[in-house]
């Protein structure tokens, strides 16, 4: 198997990508609001408080792995 391609460039800035793709500022704000609504609905749903990745695990029938609470 060929070695994986190594990506050394930093992660792209979505705002920069929006400009490059010609997404107007008003439309970008609308898309950002749609994302914010999406994430808000997620946190309001039954998955509130579950660690990242738990939704996928829960869908597969596995129990979500709890993160150690460092404050205790």
């Amino acid at each position: 198997m060929r070695k994986p391609a190594l990506i050394t460039s930093p992660f792209p800035d979505p705002a920069q990508t929006a400009r490059t793709l010609g997404i107007p500022a008003a439309r970008r704000r609308r898309l950002e609001q749609m994302l914010a609504d999406l994430w808000a609905s997620e946190s309001d749903s039954e998955t509130r408080g579950t660690p990242p990745g738990a939704r996928v695990a829960a869908k597969r029938g596995a129990l979500p792995r709890r993160r150690p609470n460092k404050t205790r």
Binding site: P4, A5, P12, I23, L35, L38, E42, P52, V56
Partner: protein, 219 residues
Amino acid sequence: MVPRRETRKRTRSPNRKAFLNVPYDSDYEPLYLAFLAGLCGLGLTPQATVQLPGSQRRLRRILGLIRRCRYSFHDLCRVELDPSPPQTPRFNMPFELGLAVAWEAVAPSSHRWFVFEAVPHRLQKSLSDLGGTDVYIHDNKPSGVLRQLANALSRPRRQPTVKDLEWIYEDLCEFARRLKDDLHTDSLFEARAFNELVFAAQAIARRRLFGARAARSLR
């Protein structure tokens, strides 16, 4: 007095563009979203022929697009006959793969291509000229696409796990459903939907990999 020559360093932005060569049909939509989620999760910016405007000759535009991309991803899973009459196989995807192969041969340091398929060993029959090439088999499943993208690409820092990519994919699917409503369209294989999905996938990836604060700092 000799005027001092202005020495201005030109900083070139890194080329993160990834040409996506996939079927454009509604059955393929989950895998299409998986490619967008996976590529954005790995820090790339997908590009596709759906973005091309219609004024120039199509072949020239496709060539230009491939040349501008550092990577290309070709899914050759549609080898069956297209059922709409007259029944024909689709040659666009293998043709565009051929263009990418030729471009890498001309400029090896500028381009790298990857081939995906749904069924193991089928490519040896459908395109035997690619014998000896690593083919990434996704089993027609979004999770397969994400797994194979993680096999094909790596990052020295903040390498996302397949679980990270699955999370990004889930959020992108939900966003795509809302985007269809917002754009009053049934198809995501259009320039505007494609561009907005790329923007959203990058924002979702940033939130997943760097936290909610990084996502908020987009504004």
